[in-house]
Subunit: 357 residues, 4 copies
């Protein structure tokens, strides 16, 4: 075991390559993990397509891509204390410095000097990866590998759902991609009464219905605000979670939000948003929170308990499980809007592209 | 419509009488309600049996008993603005003064000068009742009358469940009477992962299982603390809700509660509790809250939304629906531990006791 | 006592007139108040100048202007229960409907059908005014009239200070007008450790220093963000309160706010704000709240206690006490940036303009 | 530097000895600290007197006593990353395991496997001590050593003050020892309007007045509840903090607490408390929290900011600064109730007792 398959970003242009590279060695405080499942995220698409954000964020190449994974601890670096070989783990991708104001004040998930797994270090679209001990979260036995690989994005969804005070509430979710769908199933699990989901894809809306949405709205076909006001008897929603990054949809959310409502912003817009703070925020006394990740590790604890209780619907969110070799197909499916959460399996051989040494 | 049937406490001793009494007239700010369903609560049993608490609390007789009800608004007293004839309502039994510190600071449900419906005024074990407008909560069309009559105690359960932060948590409920069972179904609706219920009655435990309990413990048969620690992998529960009023069980709860856990106290002990504050509260940093009622009306809003979403299991909690005339049977069933929530219907004639004028 | 002096907006153009008008009569649930002090707010300036906002908001003329006041209860309308003649009161200007979702859920201060005192009803730049009982807040004996007249805007400041979690924090306040200065003294009273105030007027900054600011920044003279980062050792502020309504300054606030920080927005921008949600809100996990008024009446209680304890510095915020007759001078002073909080006294005669009948 | 002076508990009986012992060596992740000031706490008195609690808690002898300290980092053990030689530090005495449920969920200060500095390891009544890096809190330059040595207990006080929501509130503090006095000055800093302190020692009450108490009550001389009700206009206090451990006084606190009030329990009673949960907790909807330490390190951050802003009055709490050699005098002063916070200085020679090798 000295070489492994990995999807590597080598060029400052579109695409990536399946290559044979050395298995990494865990340094002090790190562990080597055998990847059992890994999932493609929107961020990976940015890196793959080498868009403007990726050009700014990825400082050096080559870089093994991918950050969502589950796997088994194979080797312990020096000084590792809290894990043993054979532990099943999922990856927390925010690697905290342990020294900054945030790390010292219960906010290590938004560390001021955060190292992003797969952006600032090699990632997990591979057969093995190395990650700091603190970011290898031990997960319960009964969580299947593909669910384990989804926990990183799902944790963001769970946290967003918690922050908007879901109990008995009428909530809206904008965008029915994996984050939005995770928010839907989390809202349902946490007692939201009405869950209104908007998306421009009817296919995604139908998945939303499977995981808990009570009302589906397609802004291409109907007036979302008018419908929301009807569903909520003219009051507006108690909250909305944005998982679309669409500035137009977010701005609309601030219109159908009720006075005193809550907002969790997760999706990253590619352009500035224009808001009229008076009517959209101040007169409403809107409470808004930006969500950048999972609390380490309160969110993981809640998520695992919900999963253990069978309270989250995850299978409908998985659209494909592909061999690692089929990564280009995976990226294409996402680009065409045909995929939802796509899992890559590094041990199942697929339609093999030629391996580059 | 000048006379009505009512269960009246007339004597300072055990029991009550079914009597024919005048239909009351709503004063300014009050409404007359036609009772469609009314339910027996533990407090009613105290008054019926005329125990020590009742002797202190009920200041004058005769008094129409009963405080849990749903019904239809029939007449409006002078100055009533927020209700119209025909509105379907449930009774909020905490009648606030509107002037005290609590009423002026968002805490009218624990008004310093609170008038208790049926203790300080005539109640609702009758065909009609009068209640201040503010305490006649309009309820949605699709809530059946018998569920409406359960909302007052259920609101206490829902609030307790909210206060212990149920999301993804491992919670314990002590006591599987109507309040405890309401807490179980509320905890389940709000995303508790494991719901451990303890009660000395296997019958009640089996109802708990129907409404959402994941683990059932009978302290007569097993070591509750040992079992709880096993279920929670040695951590202890994230919270417990006491709905038993048993000082022994509450004290035990403070032992299996995890460090940093939360406690909601609802059940009223008949004797002082003895606590070792060091190990049971301080070293644990337990967070304890006493619950005396429903927030007016945030709790009602949440409860109605949960009911509208079909998220609460209420039918298993109703053990009997009896005609008003059978009230003595109702009290006997409760006394014998054979009943759970018993609904009285003032319009369905039963085995008629002789009516006293 | 049938006629009184009042400043009346009569024309749909710049200005207002001092007129003799009938003393109003309190309707059911209302009280007649003898005005002892009244203060000019930015909103009054909008109405006076008849800007675009005022043209949309003020539905009918003539209208007695002014909404900030203190005074004495002179007469009770029918059904008034919680006040007696002679009570000293200050005005809460958000008149709630009592029926809407917000009123029923502890949020009457942002009532969906809110009537704004002086916009939707006659105001208090007069010798007498009429206001609903619920909005006449009884105030302690030892609060001087001019402080009483400042409580409405001050309550907004106190609330903003509370919402940003001031204890031991490094807070910024943008804008040193009356609201901003109120926020400064409130932050100081509530334990903020460093209070950084920015304003383009050095005069206002010097008042900020008198009421508790620890650091003063003039954006015309220095790089605010650079200075803030220096003061906070590179961390950024724990929070900022905007009381300027300047979209440029708010946007800058989102840059010097630390990760995990809090924002209270009070000032009303006259144009849309453009925000980059990723870096300014989401990666920061900023927590933002819009503030539109005082909680009724939790905020009043806190404010009165702080005032009773001598914990708020209010006198430096009062720049002028003028007779009602000098209202034009008052508006001019504000327009020229020479005034801060200007109090009008309806019983002290000044340079009398000719009274219009 | 191989030997140092230290106060050592050697015998399972009353007392301790000043001895010459080896300077300890920091292990991996630990630092050696030169003690500049150390303070005597009630827990040290228990160990000194070898009471029942101490007999159970201290597992092995000999043991260097003392846990409150400030000092300078002299040597770094292997792998220490966040400190350098010369750093000024104060000691956090809760040494977390890093693995338990609490440590993984933001509650390391109440770690399930907590090692208590000076109970489970050697302490700091000495010229040098060794402590894990995580528990050596770097403190600002301008904090004098004797204040640094008080930060551990003061942090408990600050946290208690924060937990009872002090802003604009009427708070009571039971017990005017160092913890209670710290709570008084913290309450004042955080905006409590009225601070009522009760203690049986008039001397201590007079210190309370110096650090911010607005009302002083001696239960030996007056009816505390009656006075509290008078001070609070019949409402009761918004909160109370117990720093006495007196079950009688705590029980009384639950009587003068207003409905909806908050309680922070810090003092450790030596006997069980008897509470009537109905009237004392449930009907009041009291919110109670046990406080066992400082949040790591949010509380430290707040405390340091408050100290930096000059917002805490600490000097009146220090009654004596003695040479380490005079420790017996220190314990005697505390026993006789003549001392408040007593600082020991290990570098200033006093009336030397004979050193034992």
């Amino acid at each position: 075991m000295t070489q492994m398959k990995a999807i590597v970003k080598t060029e400052t242009s579109f695409g990536a390559s399946l290559k044979r590279v050395p298995v990494p060695t865990p340094g002090p405080g790190e562990v080597l993990v055998k990847i059992m499942a890994t999932a493609i995220c929107g961020t990976d698409v940015h890196v793959y397509e080498w868009n403007k954000w990726a050009q700014g964020a990825v400082k050096s190449l080559p870089r093994v891509m991918g950050h969502e994974f589950s796997g088994e601890v194979l080797e312990l670096g020096e000084g590792v204390k809290n894990l043993i070989k054979g532990d099943r783990v999922a990856g927390e991708t925010h690697i905290p410095c342990g020294k900054c104001y945030q790390c010292k004040n219960g906010l290590q998930h938004i560390c001021a000097n955060m190292v992003l797994f797969s952006i600032d270090s090699d990632g997990c679209f591979a057969q093995y990866t190395v990650i700091p001990e603190i970011c290898a979260r031990k997960i319960p036995e009964d969580i299947p590998w593909e669910h384990g690989a989804m926990m990183e994005p799902l944790g963001t969804s769970v946290r967003a759902a918690q922050e908007v005070v879901p109990a008995g509430a009428n909530a809206a979710v904008i965008g029915a991609g994996p984050i939005g769908l995770g928010a839907v199933t989390a809202l349902k699990a946490l007692g939201a009464a009405r869950i209104i989901v908007s998306d421009i894809s009817d296919d995604r809306l139908s998945i939303a219905a499977e995981v808990g949405a009570t009302h589906l709205l397609n802004p291409l076909k109907e007036d979302v605000t008018a419908k929301v006001m009807e569903i909520t008897s003219g009051v507006g929603t108690d909250s909305f979670i944005d998982a679309s990054g669409s500035v137009r949809a977010i701005s609309e959310g601030f219109r159908y939000l009720r006075k005193g409502g809550r907002v969790a912003l997760v999706g990253l817009p590619s352009e500035p948003i224009s808001l009229e703070l008076g009517p959209q925020v101040i007169f409403k006394e809107a409470k808004i929170i930006g969500i950048h990740g999972r609390k380490m590790f309160e969110t993981w604890t809640v998520m695992e308990n919900l999963m253990a209780g069978g309270l989250l619907e995850l299978d409908p969110i998985v659209s494909h499980i592909l061999p690692l070799e089929d990564f280009e197909k995976g990226f294409s499916l996402l680009k065409e809007g045909k995929g939802c959460k796509i899992i890559l399996d590094p041990w199942q051989e697929g339609q093999l592209p030629t391996l580059q040494e």
